[in-house]
């Protein structure tokens, strides 16, 4: 049985070169997409079914001190993934090594995974009617290699290894970085059951544009853990309201607010 693995994303060492994004596309044979400068040096706006990892740039100028934070986005491979819970066709599963994967044989492209992921990671390709996201390079990892993004990272911001080793490294780095960045914190260790991609942030999650306390939507929890197990017996006003909540999530795209913010910038062009 494979042991739990982890990728440690040390944002204090990330230089935003985006080699990870290119390496991901090269290994996974994903096509380039048309982009433009959005804000700061950011050109990839969000996850797409062909962009499984990208860097966002965050500028902060306070009291004469400039900070330029970079954040690598990809699937967090949660221990308790809401996408898996939401998937009606049981296409999403966890591996022993800690990865959350989509079985494309079973995926029907309904998009429930996308709607219910607190970061909006999975994306459905409408032509193929399948959902896509970072695979953690399971095909490399199971063959003794590092994920493509980790292997290419020159500044040493990405580390891959046994979960316990990475957690130890993360704690050591946090203690070091806190000396200069008092708000530094780990991100991922106590959310969504713990994530397989663990981050060291120099500031609060909101500075990086990610939710501080991502959680499985309540509507999904109620539906899957309460209503659904009753086998439809409790059909009534309450159940309808919950279903409505799930659908509303989908329509509004609660977790895609970040993308909408970016649209405002684009509107100015």
């Amino acid at each position: 049985m494979a042991t739990p693995k982890m990728v440690f994303v040390d944002t204090s060492l990330c230089t935003g070169c985006r080699a990870c994004s290119v390496a991901c596309k090269a290994w996974n044979e994903l096509p380039p997409e048309k982009t433009q400068l959005i804000t700061s040096f950011q050109t990839q706006k969000d996850y797409t079914y062909d962009t499984w990892t990208y860097i966002s740039f965050h500028e902060k100028y306070e009291n004469g001190k400039m900070d330029w934070f970079m954040f690598k986005h990809q699937c967090y491979h949660c221990e308790d993934p809401s996408c898996m819970k939401a998937c009606p066709s049981e296409a999403i599963y966890k591996t022993d090594s800690g990865y959350t994967l989509i079985d494309h044989e079973k995926c029907i492209g309904c998009g429930y995974c996308a709607t219910n992921c607190p970061w909006g990671v999975p994306m459905v390709n409408p032509q193929l009617q399948k959902s896509f996201k970072c695979t953690g390079c399971i095909d490399r990892v199971e063959n003794g290699m590092e994920p493509a993004c980790v292997a290419t990272c020159q500044p040493g911001a990405l580390s891959f290894g046994e979960k316990a080793d990475m957690q130890k490294l993360a704690k050591e780095r946090l203690a070091e970085v806190k000396k200069t960045y008092p708000k530094a914190q780990l991100y991922g260790d106590n959310i969504m059951g713990g994530t397989t991609y663990l981050y060291l942030l120099l500031d609060e999650p909101k500075v990086y544009g990610v939710p501080a306390k991502p959680a499985t939507p309540i509507s999904l929890t109620l539906w899957k853990d309460l209503v659904h197990p009753l086998g439809g017996i409790a059909v009534g006003a309450a159940a309808l309201a919950i279903t409505g909540g799930v659908l509303a999530n989908f329509a509004r795209g609660n977790y895609r607010k970040k993308a909408e913010d970016n649209d405002d910038i684009n509107a100015g062009q």
Binding site: D67, M70, G268
Partner: protein, 808 residues
């Protein structure tokens, strides 16, 4: 660096950066332009090293800095001069190092002066300096006279102290925009954390005062004792994987391979050359001529010296000047290999005009780049252009074998990984075919100018084999009939009995081996010396001038970073690195064993680049039948023995230090139009970003790279954005007196409005990697940049010109 230390190369290596306690990264954006540097810098940082970044823009490198200072482009010498003054005033210098390994004590000619912006010896008519007063006081043996103490008013140390006395922290703040207390913080931090390492790249060289800026670094590092030690030094981060290799092979027009002076028309015979430059240059020149002309080079015919064309010093255009000279009809044909001049040379109009005047332009490249399509550009009329353009499809880097020499002087062999596509050929094969065909055409000619081609030793095989070329660079020994096995074997062989195509490469391919092909990355010392990985010139030394890491007894000063030491039992210099000494058997108390800078005629590092030709050779050069000519000239910096601050050629303000000589009096001015700050109030600086490489000829044709950086842009401050009514994402027109372009604006806090001489000053910044061709076309920054060059290096001032920015 060459006039300061004796060699114009990065002193340490990439891996060595992990040994540093402090970095001053100024004139380099290594996180973007040299991402591999960050791997080693971050390792040092994890051990507690401090990172200081000085840049006109808060870059991705700056995002990893402990201290960042925003500087007005082109004013480095002002704040560095203030740091020199501060180090001296506060006695932060390393006295042992200064006394033993620099020329601080040597006395300077009493007629030497600096007055009203000029050093003594300036000729107004020729705009050149006569070096006669920039000299030492000499004794009857032609040896510089040493002062008893650093307090002697004639000594170099006092000259430096006096020269920089004008550079107070406050003056530096007025000029550079860096607050005085911030300059002090930088100086205190860098002087306290040793070994300290300085990294620079084109941000420091692309100025009309580029060489002098780097001279400031040399002075600082010599004062602090930060040369010749692990984790110390000055790292010139080279812009392309093989730039060091191409300089080694003499892409500078005053050099021959191995940094030999190129003969001028004053040196008609080989004897003239030997008299001018001494045996120390004479011997490698003979070895070079033997490599080039093989059996045709004999003692009787001066080894074919007469076949070498000689330089006319009054008629030596540097690359940025070529295009002007094409217009004047001086050049009829251009071979353009590995360069995208239409994007990379400043002042684009001038380039296009020059290329339009050629009879033939040959471009070898992997893509049909802007230069090979220059006539297609908007505004040019192809009907009026008679230039015949020939495009030769070249092989890509992975499709050819050979070596690349990186910034660490590391000569690395690589094999061909793939066969070139279709008719594409490696550069070597292209040149091999052209040469062989040319030689056929010249067959039977008695014209003296054809003799070099007819007599050349061209034996790289039917299909040119790059390994045979490397063997030629390594050289052969006539006595053994074999490849020379080491640098020492070359140095000890009598003149005329060895050949080498580049003497510093001697030892790279001893018989039966290719040391450049070694891939053993073991590192027993943990210092990143990796001695068995490839081959570093000279003689596989990884840290240059490493004698300076030892004390007077030859013992390593830093017990945690031991490079070399004197083994008194064996009577030899030995260590973890190859000892950079004249003679390994000469102990630390001998005149030879004391020298840390053996390539300088004084044997010491040069705080003041005095004019000096030693009477006694500092390297023993065995001679055959001819008597040794024991002279060795010091490398000179043409525009002053100590760096002085001058404003950029296009400057928004006055020079408060030198009101009567505001700009470098020796700058080579090539552009003809210069903007007035009233019309063009903002300073534009140009740079590359990590997503696109140099002129972008390759990377703008790689879709994944275009995805992560799809377009050029200009970065402006929020104040400027407000002033001109531009918000992030808007398009703006950027114009200089030479041209204009339209790009998207990034309005950012990463550039702040500076206070310069009491007035607000705006810097704007733009990457220069775009052109009209490729999958990702965009306007080129050289529509607006200016062509004026450093008088010594010939590097154009891409880093500052005046522009206006308005809403498009």
């Amino acid at each position: 660096m060459s006039p300061s230390f004796g060699r114009g190369a990065m002193t340490n290596s990439w891996q060595d950066m992990q040994n540093s306690e402090c970095f001053l990264i100024a004139g380099s954006n290594c996180a973007e332009a040299h991402p591999i540097a960050m791997k080693w810098i971050h390792r040092a940082k994890a051990k507690g090293a401090k990172i200081i970044v000085v840049d006109p823009v808060f870059t991705r490198t700056a995002s990893k800095a402990d201290i960042f200072a925003q500087i007005r482009p082109g004013t480095d010498i002002a704040y560095l001069g203030a740091i020199i003054k501060y180090i001296i005033d506060e006695k932060l210098y390393d006295e042992f190092f200064v006394l033993n390994f620099t020329n601080a004590l040597l006395k300077i000619n009493k007629d030497f002066k600096f007055e009203d912006g000029l050093f003594s010896g300036f000729d107004e008519a020729t705009k050149k300096y006569n070096y006669s007063t920039w000299a030492y006081q000499l004794d009857e043996n032609n040896t510089p006279i040493k002062a008893d103490s650093l307090d002697d008013p004639d000594c170099v140390f006092q000259k430096i102290k006096e020269h920089y006395s004008r550079y107070t922290l406050e003056v530096a703040e007025q000029i550079s925009g860096i607050p005085a207390d911030h300059i002090k913080l930088i100086a205190d931090t860098f002087a306290a954390a040793k070994p300290g390492n300085i990294l620079y790249a084109l941000g420091m060289t692309q100025h009309t005062t580029g060489v002098q800026g780097i001279r400031c670094y040399a002075i600082i590092q010599l004062l602090l004792g930060n040369v010749g030690k692990a984790g110390a030094g000055i790292q010139a981060l080279r812009g392309e994987p093989n730039v060091q290799g191409s300089t080694d092979m003499a892409n500078l027009n005053a050099n021959l391979p191995g940094y030999l002076p190129y003969p001028t028309n004053a040196q008609v015979t080989l004897h003239d050359y030997a008299v001018s430059f001494g045996s120390v240059q004479h011997k490698p020149l003979v070895a070079l001529l033997k490599a080039w002309f093989g059996k045709n080079a004999t003692a009787a015919n001066d080894y074919g010296y007469g076949w070498l064309p000689k330089n006319d010093p009054t008629n030596m255009p540097i690359q940025p000047q070529f295009f002007n000279w094409m217009e004047k009809g001086q050049f009829k044909m251009l071979f353009n290999f590995g360069s995208n001049s239409s994007v990379s040379i400043p002042d684009r109009k001038m380039v296009a005009k020059g290329l339009s005047c050629l009879e033939m332009l040959v471009v070898a490249d992997i893509f049909n780049i802007e230069t090979s399509r220059f006539w297609e550009e908007e505004g040019l009329n192809p009907k009026e252009i008679q230039t015949e353009v020939i495009f030769l499809p070249a092989a890509f880097v992975y499709e050819k074998a050979g070596t690349m020499t990186n910034s660490s002087r590391l000569i690395q062999w690589k094999d061909e990984a793939l066969k070139p596509l279709n008719d594409c050929l490696p550069d070597l094969d292209i040149l091999d075919r052209i040469f062989k065909r040319m030689r056929e055409l010249y067959a039977g000619s008695n014209d003296p100018k054809d003799a070099a081609i007819l007599n050349a030793n061209w034996d790289y095989g039917e299909h040119a084999d790059p390994f045979l070329v490397l063997n030629e660079l390594n050289g052969y020994n006539d006595n053994t009939g074999q490849l020379t096995s080491s640098l020492a074997e070359y140095l000890n062989a009598p003149i005329g009995t060895v050949s080498t195509g580049c003497w510093i490469y001697a030892g790279v391919t001893p018989p039966g081996k290719n040391l450049a092909d070694r891939r053993d990355s073991s590192d027993p010392t943990g210092l990143g010396l990796n001695n068995e990985y490839a081959f570093a010139w000279p003689g596989n030394i990884r840290v240059l001038y490493n004698r300076a890491s030892c004390d007077a007894n030859g013992k390593p000063i830093d017990p945690n970073r031991e490079l070399i030491w004197w083994d008194s039992v064996q009577g030899v210099w030995t260590g973890n690195d190859g000892p950079d000494v004249i003679d390994k058997t000469k102990g630390p108390d001998t005149p030879e064993g004391k020298q840390a800078f053996r390539m300088n005629p004084e044997g010491v590092g040069r705080l003041f680049t005095a004019s000096y030709t030693s009477g006694v050779s500092s390297s023993p050069v065995p001679v055959d039948s001819i008597a040794a000519i024991p002279v060795r000239g010091a490398g000179m910096v043409v525009d002053g023995p100590m760096p002085e601050f001058y404003e950029p050629i296009e400057s928004p303000t006055t020079n408060i230090l030198n009101p009567n000589v505001p700009t470098n009096p020796m700058a080579k001015i090539v552009s003809t139009e210069f903007g007035d700050p009233k019309d063009y109030p903002y300073v534009l600086t140009t740079y590359t970003i990590c997503e696109h490489f140099c002129a972008g000829g390759i990377t703008r044709n790689i879709p994944w790279l275009n995805e992560i950086m799809p377009e050029p842009f200009i970065e402006i401050s929020k104040n400027l954005g407000k002033k001109i009514g531009v918000k992030e994402g808007d398009f703006v027109e950027v114009s200089s007196i030479r041209g204009k372009l339209k790009v998207r604006a990034l309005v950012t806090d990463r550039i702040q409005t500076l206070k310069i001489n009491g007035e607000d000053a705006e810097t704007v910044g733009m990457p220069w990697s775009w052109g009209f061709a490729s999958l990702n076309p965009g306007p080129s920054a050289n529509n607006v940049t200016m062509n004026a060059c450093d008088p010594g290096a010939g590097t154009p001032e891409y880093k500052c010109c005046l522009v206006n920015v308005r809403r498009a």
